[in-house]
């Protein structure tokens, strides 16, 4: 069944089962591999994208549940004010190690910053605890979010 979704401002029509998770449509059908597969069960956050600005786990989001909502992925997050600040802070603070989880971390952090320009430590914990980093970059993620918030 053909389904049309709007990804980074462009309508894309794909022919997959309606229950196909958005993650695989992005990665394997549309070739947008910046969004990562980590667990398939919304346990690690590697697959985080925005739907109408809200961070969601694309690995458990069926494509037929999205409707006309706007999907934003790591490939386009730099075009948003919060996303650009987060990306810059990530580089300034040298957050990244292997980097595999960082697309998801940046998407979660960008959604946080867009909705909460001055997050507290507890706000950061709340927004970021769903994103696992096996390289343990948490100390720097926290610093980077605070840096990005300072520029607000």
């Amino acid at each position: 069944m053909a389904t049309t979704i709007r990804v980074n401002g462009i309508d894309r029509t794909v022919d997959v089962d309606g229950d196909t998770p958005l993650l695989w449509v992005l990665r394997d059908v549309l070739g947008m591999t910046g969004t990562k597969f980590g667990c398939g069960m919304a346990l690690c956050g590697a697959c985080t994208v925005h739907v109408d600005g809200v961070a969601i786990r694309s690995c458990i989001t069926p494509i037929d549940s999205i409707g006309t909502s706007e999907i934003t992925t790591i490939e386009a997050i730099g075009a948003t004010a919060a996303g650009a600040k987060i990306q810059k802070a990530w580089l300034d603070r040298e957050v990244v190690q292997c980097g595999y989880c960082q697309s998801g971390q940046i998407m979660s952090a960008s959604a946080l910053l867009a909705s909460n320009p001055h997050p507290t430590d507890s706000d950061i914990d709340g927004a970021m605890a769903g994103n696992i980093c096996r390289c343990g970059t948490y100390v720097r993620i926290r610093e980077a979010i605070k840096q990005a918030a300072q520029s607000n």
């Binding site: 449509v25 990665r27 394997d28 059908v29 947008m32 590697a46 990244v96 595999y100 096996r134």
Partner: protein
Amino acid sequence: MISDHINSRAACPDPSPSANGLSRRTFLKAGAAAGGGLMLSLGLPMANGEAQVTAGDGFAPNAFIRIGNDGQIVLTMPYVEMGQGTYTSIPMLIAEELEVDLSRVRLEHAPPNEKFYGNPLLAGVQATGNSNAIRAAWQPLRQAGAVARTMLVSAAAKRWNVDPTSCRAQSGEVRHVPTGRSITYGELAADAARMPVPESVALKRPEDFKLIGTPAKRLDTPAKVNGTAVYGIDVRPPGVKIATLAQSPVFGGRVKRVHDTAAKAVKGVRQIVLLDDAVAVVADHMGAAKKGLAALVIEWDDGPHAKLNTNEVVAELEQATLNSGAVAQNIGDVDAAIARAITKVEATYQVPFLAHATMEPMNCTVHVREDGCEVWVGSQVMARAQAAAAKTAGLPLDKVVVHNHLIGGGFGRRLEIDGVIRAVEIAKQVDGPVKVVWTREEDIQHDMYRPTFFDRISAGLDEKGMPAAWNNRFAGSSIIARWLPPGFNNGLDPDTTEGAIDLVYDLPNMHVEYLRVEPPGIPTAFWRSVGPSHNVFVTESFIDELATAAKQDAVAYRMALLDKSPRAKAVLELAAEKAGWGQPLLERVGRGVSVQFVFATYMAQIVEVEVSANGAVRVRRVVCAVDCGTVVNPDTVRAQIQSGIVFGITAALYGQITLKDGRVEQTNFDSYQMLRINEAPAIEVYIVQNSEPPGGMGEAGTSAIAPAVTNAIFAATGKRLRKLPIDTTALKQPV
């Protein structure tokens, strides 16, 4: 900046035999690059002590520098990037001696070629592991840079007809100091290639370093924050299909029967591939492949390990330690010293199997054709990946091209080639390229695990409470015995015993034995800080037990044993000072300490933990003092320590792979938990500056943390934990 992958180069001229030993000339040889520029190749000394040289402008032995006529400097990297910062720190060595900005050095992955790119500190295996990339590259890569610089200067001096000593290399140019004339490396490259290779070169003095020791920005990160970095799992050769698989849930089991009607009916499923011990579903996308796999009904023959439970494995290890093993270290006479001892202390320790759980699940993309095979993978062992693919595909080595990619977490998992073999087995039955992606469940349940170990340890204390005798015997799997058989000798290998022998402490009588006992059916492999992740937990917990038995302060007790190890003493002193050791803490909060010398790095950690009334453990603060000799990139050192600590806390609190009825019980991040940001401690890192040779940084942080945490739990609660992971039920406060 970073080229994500390169094609293997098939045609490599045979290396000519070298002169004896490691003379200047066998280390380095220059030639004209294909484009006419300067190509400088260098041979790292091989395990057999013989360096390799090449002729002409052919392919070079080991790592090599290429300088094009356009001034582009290319470093062919024998070491892979998996987050540890090697794509920045190794180019820093070259850039330092070449007198160029770091941004001028472009990287290419080395193709698989063990002869040329073997790691001299890993017996010549082309591998990135054991925290030794900087250690292996420290001398030869700086020498390579220095020789290139010297030849560029000579070429400029010749062109200007001036004395080379009146010229200086700086910022990618050679400058004639008296006249101020300058000429770029690119313009000089062709001439430099014709200059004689200097017999010797002076390396820069540490006080003249411009880059080494500075927190250089990482080169690999911009692509990792905008989704453009290409990991193995991201490759998309034209027409690629996606496969996912189910391997026998019991190690050693086989497929008996498969009912695939429902799976084949799933939209997007193209093919079911049957192997002896696995079934794969090939589809247009992973969503269809997973749905197809779920729809398969597979009957398994569980094989000989159908009833295997991990508690039986541990019981076998415990039993084994009743017998004597191979002597890993003996100092003095332990038996006599124990007999004389005033106090005896005995304990047993145990650590579990651990999975790697890299964030990038196992994957490998393969295209098998009749006359060749192409492989796309992120691997810590390129040459082994190529050899495994060739063997599995039934093709000669030179028909197999391997593209290496960024690695989304290695930790030793990608020192193994089981995933490559599996992917080639599947690809042999598929028309066109196929990307085999393991689900997280497959990744955890078919990992190759950090081994479980059982330790029986005892000590005798003298009248002052100091350890007069130290006797440690432990049993478990030897990874080296499988992975690098020549490294296993007389029942011993250097990895399994690291951290159990050559302790920092001055122990007059010490005896350490190891018994190799392989768990039936359960594959074991390296892990972050492999041997030390087990041994340092045991030794640093037990020295704490001795301090307690001697009624002495845990830091003071250690300090008294460190007179012969001043660098260890210095890091302990520093950590204790920064942590405020001895300052009062609230009830159920404790400080713990550990000291170690592993991976050629000295480290002390002091942690503060809080144990709640229900037994939950929170690591609040970690203070780490490190002496890793010369620091190449201090920011990377800090990052690796932060990383290693989080990795080690994860294992200490949660890490455990158990088998019941032959099946791994953990499946995903719900049952194999990772530390999360809300649980992460504040981490302070203090670096001791000196000019000693560099030590390893990727793993040291991991091994030091577990005993510091359990020692802190003891301080907070009086409960001594001798088994990992931490059993929080044992820490509950009595009502």
